[in-house]
C-alpha cells in the first residue's frame, strides 16, 4: 500500500452490527434510539451495486482507513448514515470492492442494507475528478445523497491524484428520527 498505515488495525476485534433481516423494508420512519450505531471499523451494512448485469455486494464499514478498506467500502466518519437525509461518503479500493464502479451508468441503482432498514439510490452522475475537488461531494447536502468513490484510472498501478465518483440520490428508504 502506498499510504501510511498498512497493517494497522488488522489485529483489532471489530464489533460488527450487521445481520441480514428480510423483514426490514424501504419505507417509513425508524427511531434513532432503536438503532445500534457502529463503532469505528465495524461493518453495519451491505452495499449492492447493480451494474454490468451483476449485483456486486460490498460490506459497508464505518471508517475508511487502510485496514477498513481491506474489509469493504469504508464510510467517512464525518459523513452521515443512510436515512439521515444528507451525504453518505464511501470509498473502496479500485482493485477489489469498488472495481465494479467502472461499469456504472447513470440510471442504474445502488442499494444499502443496514440493520435498521433498506435504502435504494439511483445513480445521477459518474465522473472522474481530482481528489481535492470538493465539488465531487457536498457534506452539507440537505438531500440524501450516496457518493461512492475509488482511485482513477482503474488500470494504472501506483499513487493516483484522481478519483472516480459515483453519485446517487435516494429513491426510497426509512428516514431516521434523530430525536426519538
Amino acid at each position: 500500500m502506498f499510504s501510511g498505515d498498512l497493517g494497522s488495525d488488522d489485529n483489532e476485534i471489530y464489533n460488527d452490527v450487521f445481520t441480514h433481516n428480510s423483514l426490514l423494508g424501504y419505507e417509513g420512519t425508524v427511531n434513532a434510539s432503536d438503532i445500534t450505531y457502529p463503532t469505528y471499523g465495524s461493518i453495519y451494512g451491505e452495499i449492492e451495486i447493480y451494474t454490468n448485469n451483476t449485483v456486486y455486494k460490498v460490506p459497508l464499514v464505518f471508517g475508511d482507513n487502510n485496514a477498513m478498506l481491506r474489509r469493504g467500502g469504508g464510510q467517512y466518519i464525518g459523513s452521515h448514515f443512510p436515512g439521515e437525509g444528507s451525504t453518505i461518503l464511501v470509498s473502496g479500493h479500485n482493485t477489489n470492492y469498488f472495481n465494479c464502479l467502472k461499469h456504472t451508468k447513470v440510471g442504474e441503482f445502488i442499494e444499502i442494507k443496514t440493520n435498521y432498514g433498506k435504502y435504494k439510490y439511483e445513480i445521477i452522475d459518474v465522473s472522474a475528478k481530482h481528489k481535492t475537488d470538493k465539488t465531487a461531494y457536498d457534506l452539507n447536502a440537505e438531500k440524501e445523497t450516496l457518493v461512492l468513490y475509488t482511485c482513477y484510472p482503474f488500470d494504472v498501478v501506483g499513487y493516483k491524484v484522481n478519483r472516480y465518483f459515483v453519485t446517487a440520490i435516494l429513491v426510497s428508504g426509512p428516514q431516521i428520527d434523530p430525536y426519538h
Partner: protein, 187 residues
C-alpha cells in the same frame, strides 16, 4: 488550521464520560443538541465569522449517537468550547485561515485544554505534528482530522514484486546454465 479546529473539537468529544455504554441510545437528547448547536454556531470575531468544518461537527454528532450526555455534562462541554472560543477572540482570529498565525503559546494552551479533557474521560488525544486523532476509552477512533478523500488505489506489495523478479531471474539464470551445459547455445 485543521490542527486547532481538531483540538477545539477534542474538547467536546473527550469530555463525554466514557464510562457510558457504547450501546447507549442512538437518539440525540436535548443536552446533546445543545452541544451540537454550540458547535454549529458561527463565532463572530471582528467583521468575520469563524466556524468549524461541517465534517468535524458531523463526527461529533456521530459520536454523540453512541453515548448519553446529561445536563451537567453538556454544560461542562459547552464551557470548554467557550474557553477555546475566548482564546480565538483574544488572539483576534478573524477566519479559519488565520488559525495558523496563532502564537505558539495560544496553540499550546488549546492543546493543553484538549489533553486535560482527554484525561478527565480516560480517552486519548494523539497529535503527531500533522494530524489529530481522538480515541475513546475502548481505543476506537471517534475523530480523525485526516483529509476527507482517501487513497484507494491498487495495493502494491513491493516485497512480493521484488521476490517475483528475483525468482524469474534465478529461473532464467538456471535455464541458461543448463542450456550451456547441454551445449544448446550455438556459437
Amino acid at each position: 488550521m485543521k490542527k486547532i479546529c481538531s483540538i477545539l473539537l477534542a474538547l467536546v468529544l473527550l469530555i463525554v464520560p466514557m464510562t457510558l455504554s457504547v450501546s447507549a441510545a442512538g437518539d440525540i437528547n436535548a443536552n446533546e443538541q445543545k452541544i451540537i448547536t454550540e458547535l454549529k454556531k458561527e463565532l463572530e470575531i471582528g467583521n468575520k465569522k469563524f466556524a468549524l468544518p461541517k465534517e468535524y461537527v458531523t463526527q461529533a454528532e456521530n459520536y454523540l449517537k453512541t453515548v448519553d450526555v446529561n445536563e451537567a455534562q453538556a454544560n461542562e462541554i459547552i464551557g470548554y468550547i467557550e474557553d477555546g472560543e475566548e482564546i480565538l477572540i483574544a488572539e483576534k482570529i478573524t477566519g479559519t485561515t488565520d488559525l495558523k498565525t496563532l502564537p505558539v503559546a495560544a496553540k499550546q494552551q488549546i492543546l493543553d485544554l484538549g489533553k486535560k479533557a482527554v484525561a478527565v474521560t480516560g480517552a486519548t488525544l494523539t497529535f503527531d505534528g500533522k494530524n489529530v486523532v481522538i480515541k475513546n476509552a475502548e481505543g476506537k477512533v471517534v475523530f480523525d482530522a485526516a483529509p476527507v478523500v482517501k487513497q484507494t488505489g491498487a495495493e502494491v506489495d513491493f516485497t512480493a514484486i521484488a521476490l517475483s523478479v528475483l525468482a524469474v531471474v534465478a529461473i532464467l539464470g538456471g535455464a541458461i546454465v543448463v542450456a550451456k551445459k547441454k551445449s544448446l547455445f550455438v556459437k
